[in-house]
Amino acid sequence: MQSNAALEYDYSVAKLFTYTAILFGFVGMLIGTLIAAQLAFPELNYLLGEYGTFSRLRPLHTNVVIYGFTLSGVWATFYYSAQRVLKVSMAESKFIMFLGKFHFGLYLVAAVAMVLTLLMGITTSKEYAQMEWPLDIIIVVIWVTWGLAMFALIGIRREKALYISMWYFIACFLGVAMLYLFNNMEVPTYFASGGVGSMMHSVSMYAGTNDALVQWWWGHNAVAFVFTVPIVAMIYYFLPKESGQAVYSYKLSLLSFWGLMFVYLWAGSHHLLWSTVPDWMQTMGSIFSVVLILPSWGSAINMLLTMKGEWNQLTENPLIKFMVLASTFYMLSTLEGPIQAIKSVNAIAHFTDWIPGHVHDGVLGWVAFMIMAALFHMAPRMFKREIYSKKLIEAQFWLQTTAVVLYFTSMWIAGITQGMMWRAVDEYGNLMYSFIDTVTVLHPYYAIRALSGVLFLTGFLMFAYNMVKTMTSSRKLEEEPQFSSPMA
């Protein structure tokens, strides 16, 4: 058995991704809050001329929080935890260090290019795959670089058996690679037309219903392999580390991992219920979405039971609070999703605000909570200083929890109201409401959602401030903390 003390882990790449997670988190949530407010107060559409409308900013919000904030968080935690579970330091190989830094550098270039092109309206219009073909190529290079770094680290590992977190990171790498390549098959028009028009434009390889199917095969599984799989990797590493408890059940983690891998991909077509894709695919999507509850809850329950007998930590350690609430929101979200995937429920829910409501109890309550908790856990170990303020974390926790609850409750009501009003008929069978009636009625809920955005964003600023203070001026630590992260 290799002793920990002999290894000096190198966190330079993890630190870089930590900085961008904070930066893109702030930017993405700021835009999110703005566009939420625009739906309640449309005059806010005119702050930036043609670049400031809801429609131009909405893809910017989704892409910055997914590919900016979340991926930065994923890679920060990967470059931190992979070294530790594999018992090998990045510094042992110049090649791996180079890959890590190249990975970050190219990622930063792509992220900035993404923001600029989307603002300019250069887009393929496929949700969560909006980036045009030159960026797609850069992304493939980034992804391959990450894969090389990961498998190079695995290649020189001292701990022979891969820890659960590594399973999920590998799955994230493979799943996204396959789906991204398929969904972004496109032909640049400039080269196919003998040099006419813009270099940046392309057309999809698939048309109509086929395109829809490939898109949602990807779209749903971007949720799977960016918002779920690597976040599960995080909680399997950070919750046991922070609490000092061993993972409750190895068998349960096996079942939920392989179950999740097998089931998730089928569920993509639940985004296309009642559309023109073949009926059997819709039914498969619906059924497998319900089956998906099992592996999702398997992981979440495994995490909650890891805290068995140690629930007192929930009152003492705010990071445990974040992680336990994250897995609880994961359970809520993975129950809500399958409910929406039932065809009769979907008939009401689809196209309404219940869908963004569902997305946000997952991404705010699960993804963002888990990433912030992980970065808090890493900070004292990476920067050798204690966390700047426990009180601030406590305040942030309650502020953001309130925000998430306001978000999804208001959007539940908004979505169901809208879905019911669209189909309401009077005693003669005529439609009862014109479309605009179903818009104006949502004003209060949109206002509540905007408020929840302000609260969550404020919480995120508290997180950012706490992190920056931790990096720069907090009390220095003599030695690395064992479990619970020290905080002032």
Binding site: Q38, P42, N45, Y46, E50, F54, S55, R56, R58, P59, G121, I122, T123, T124, S125, I154, A161, L162, W167, A171, L174, G175, M178, V187, T189, Y190, A192, S193, G194, V196, G197, S198, V203, Y206, A207, G208, N210, D211, A212, V214, Q215, W217, M261, F262, Y264, L265, W274, S275, P278, M284, H350, T352, I355, W422, A424, V425, L431, F435, I436, V439
Partner: protein, 221 residues
């Protein structure tokens, strides 16, 4: 077996990949064999309409508007006949959208006019009191990228066999030769509009974005 896999990352990865890819193999690939066939009488988009579609994408109308009428009475009453797969045969990408903050647009050409769109895009509340849609005044001055739309027509004709006529040929000269036809189509739209600047721009050979967008919206039927 699982213990062994966890010690052999290569086979572990292969295993994970197979398990992930399985669903796609069963669910996605069969659909490729059977490409969406166009409904009878479906015409490819004109170059002006394609330019309009690209503005629809540029300004992300899709963020709030769907183009998919589901087979429910409430939807067919509101929007018209439910959507058929073959109607989308020339849609690259598909623009079904996933959210209806505003109404569906798949058949908007049946019940809205050039004049209505002109007023609506300039100031939505002037025709729909209470609307939360932003005004898109910049579309009245920005010039649409007709060349790129033409390049798109050439691309889908040559690569995906979309049935365009002989007038769609690769190269800048072919585009210049086809341009008068595009402008003539734009003139027809502009004739139905009030905005003098838009009319003047079309006369001078520049197509404002709003003209192309309206051509596209009128086409959605």
């Amino acid at each position: 077996m699982f213990h062994w896999l966890e010690k052999n990352p290569f086979f572990f990865s292969v295993g994970v990949f197979l398990v992930i890819a399985f669903a796609g193999l069963i669910e996605i690939l069969p659909n490729f064999a059977e490409a969406s066939r166009p409904v009878v009488g479906l015409k490819p988009y004109s170059v002006l309409e394609l330019a309009g579609k690209n503005i629809y994408m540029k300004d992300q109308c899709i963020a709030c508007h769907s183009q998919l009428i589901r087979p429910f009475k409430a939807e067919t009453d509101r929007y018209g006949q439910y959507s058929l797969s073959g109607e989308y045969a020339y849609d690259r990408p598909f623009l079904w959208g996933s959210k209806r903050t505003g109404p569906d647009l798949h058949r908007v050409g049946n019940y809205r006019t050039t004049d209505w769109h002109e007023n609506h895009m300039w100031e939505p509340t002037s025709v729909v009191p209470g609307s939360i849609m932003p005004a898109y005044k910049h579309m009245f001055t920005n010039v649409a990228d007709i060349a790129t739309a033409y390049a798109e027509a050439v691309t889908v004709k040559n690569i995906f066999k979309t049935p365009y006529g002989d007038e769609i040929q690769p190269g800048v000269e072919a585009f210049e030769a086809h341009k008068p036809a595009i402008l003539a189509e734009a003139q027809k739209i502009a004739a139905g509009m009030k905005n003098q600047d838009v009319k003047d721009a079309v006369k001078a050979g520049n197509v404002p974005e709003i003209v192309a967008l309206i051509a596209y919206l009128n086409r959605l039927k």
